[in-house]
Symmetry: C2
Subunit: 127 residues, 2 copies
């Protein structure tokens, strides 16, 4: 869910590795980011909408990744994927480190680019 | 340069480690992201402007990090820091993976969150 830069690149990587990928975005224009070689499915729809998720095949999905620009949307969609559809592997991007901690505690597998990058840059600088 | 989420967090990490940190942003409101414990300097100014960089102490700096939202601004400021002021360590965020490759080739130390995250997510999923 989310065909931004990270979503599009991840979809491409998984697709070229032979996985069956469906990418969902509310804005069809975002699909321009997919490489021409992408052989998966691109679907216009909202990942917080159960009908859209079903259409995207969530009931058969092994994994669900929420990487839209909105933390709240990502969290909501990830919780739906995990708790309503029982997707085995759910990962969710949360920019806000405070919310990230909270949702980690609540059992959601989250990652915060903010924390990761600040830490990574610090290590680079101190090397 | 750039007091967004990553910039503010990195400044805080370095500051609390005892480094002398100056953070530069064109928008004073962005300094709200700094923790109250931050003991460095927050300066309103444009990191692509040599006068602002001098005021921020670039001539004595050991390192310069460009993490605004704009790839072009980051690249320009990083090149000024490296080539005009001879800052020993310069790191520059570039969202666009294609530009990132180009600037890496040109000798700038860059990192692209896009590429790093797509790769990291893929590895997490395939684990």
């Amino acid at each position: 869910m989310g065909c931004g830069r990270v979503g599009a690149q991840l979809a491409g990587l998984l697709d070229s590795d032979g996985h069956s990928v469906t990418i969902l975005d509310t804005n069809a224009y975002s699909f321009r980011r997919l490489l021409p070689a992408f052989s998966g499915t691109a679907l216009v729809g909202n990942g917080t909408d159960e009908e859209a998720l079903k259409k995207a095949g969530i009931e058969e999905a092994d994994a669900f990744v929420a990487v839209t620009q909105g933390d709240n949307r990502n969290v909501l969609a990830a919780q739906i994927a995990k708790h309503i559809f029982g997707v085995p592997r759910v990962i969710c991007r949360i920019y806000d480190p405070i919310r990230q901690e909270l949702y980690n505690t609540l059992g959601l597998e989250t990652f915060s680019p903010t924390t990761l990058f600040a830490q990574m840059l610090k290590e680079k600088l101190e090397k």
